[in-house]
């Protein structure tokens, strides 16, 4: 009987790597093909229960929300921004933001989602494009300073839709 004995210089049994590399490359190709670069997305949170029609106690005048009226032209583009019925800003979101900073700067709660602090009611024309609504929310809820965001108004609600 022939007995195999290890010879000096033998490296022992070598693993066959070919099949593993095949599988690994297949996995790699699968992941590369299914990989999709998606832009970062974020949320504006709105807590808006259905308005209670029951007559409650009269609201405290100091708690009344800011009213932001957004008018649209026939194409759905922004025509006018009016705050509290008497402060027109044309179509300049920066002016509106500067005013909001002046009105609520520092008054907004530091903890987000606390349900406290000033509130804004957005009243928009039915055909106003949604991107302008988001611009309004951006201008009133915060200001970006460098990499930090200074919060202005945390609570947003919508007025009932205006039917054309």
């Amino acid at each position: 009987m022939k007995i195999r004995s290890s010879q000096p210089g033998d490296k022992g049994a070598e693993l066959n790597m070919t099949s593993m590399i095949d599988v690994v490359f297949l996995l790699l190709i699968f992941f590369v093909l299914t990989f999709k670069i998606v832009a970062q997305e974020g949320d504006f949170n709105i807590r808006m229960p259905l308005a209670d029609n029951a007559a409650g106690p009269p609201p405290d005048p100091t708690d009344l929300p800011f009213k932001l009226r957004l008018r649209a032209d026939n194409n759905g583009q922004l025509a006018d921004i009016i705050l509290n019925d008497n402060l027109p800003f044309g179509t300049d979101w920066e002016k509106l933001r500067a005013k909001m900073v002046e009105l609520v700067g520092g008054a907004a709660p530091k903890v987000s989602g606390a349900g406290e602090g000033p509130e804004i009611e957005i009243d928009l024309d039915y055909n106003l494009r949604y991107e302008h609504v988001i611009e309004a929310i951006t201008a009133t809820t915060g200001q970006k300073r460098g990499n930090d965001v200074v919060r202005l108004i945390e609570r947003i609600k919508f007025a009932p839709p205006r039917r054309n």
């Binding site: 690994v24 992941f31 590369v32 832009a39 970062q40 259905l50 949604y130 302008h132 970006k144």
Partner: protein, 131 residues
């Protein structure tokens, strides 16, 4: 050979971590509005229900196309699912992914429809500016 395998495994690990199979959160037909304040949520929203408002005025929930009037049926199914988990409509978060060219009034209509069914918490989804 060893260094090549190391690198390939690193690549696989990278893609595995980043891969996202969830189709529910995405819809190619919706072009989200952009905002500089958009930040990814720190924690996932509780019981999320994602509604896509597409520019042709249709709505999709879980890949099923419908209209604002027909959304009630689909939301009722979601409500039944919530009930089986011991939750109510007030616990759920409605994520609204609306196209930037959609009219704002349509979004309001949708919110109103959801409010009538008891939903209270809404998240307007936007894209990070410049992304």
């Amino acid at each position: 050979m060893t260094s090549m395998i190391d690198m390939v495994f690193q690549l696989i690990a990278f893609f595995t971590v980043l891969i996202n199979f969830s189709q529910d959160e995405q819809n190619d037909r919706v072009r989200l509005p952009e905002s500089e304040l958009a930040r990814p949520a720190e924690s996932p929203l509780e019981s999320p229900i994602t509604l896509h408002l597409i520019s042709d005025n249709s709505i999709e929930l879980g890949g099923v196309p419908t209209t604002i009037d027909g959304i009630g049926v689909l939301l009722n199914v979601e409500l039944q699912l919530l009930k089986t988990k011991g939750k109510t409509a007030a616990d759920a978060n409605i994520i609204i992914r609306a196209d930037r060219n959609m009219s704002g009034g349509r979004v309001q209509d949708l919110i109103k429809k959801c409010q009538e069914m008891g939903f209270e918490k809404f998240a307007l989804r936007v894209k990070e500016l410049g992304a």
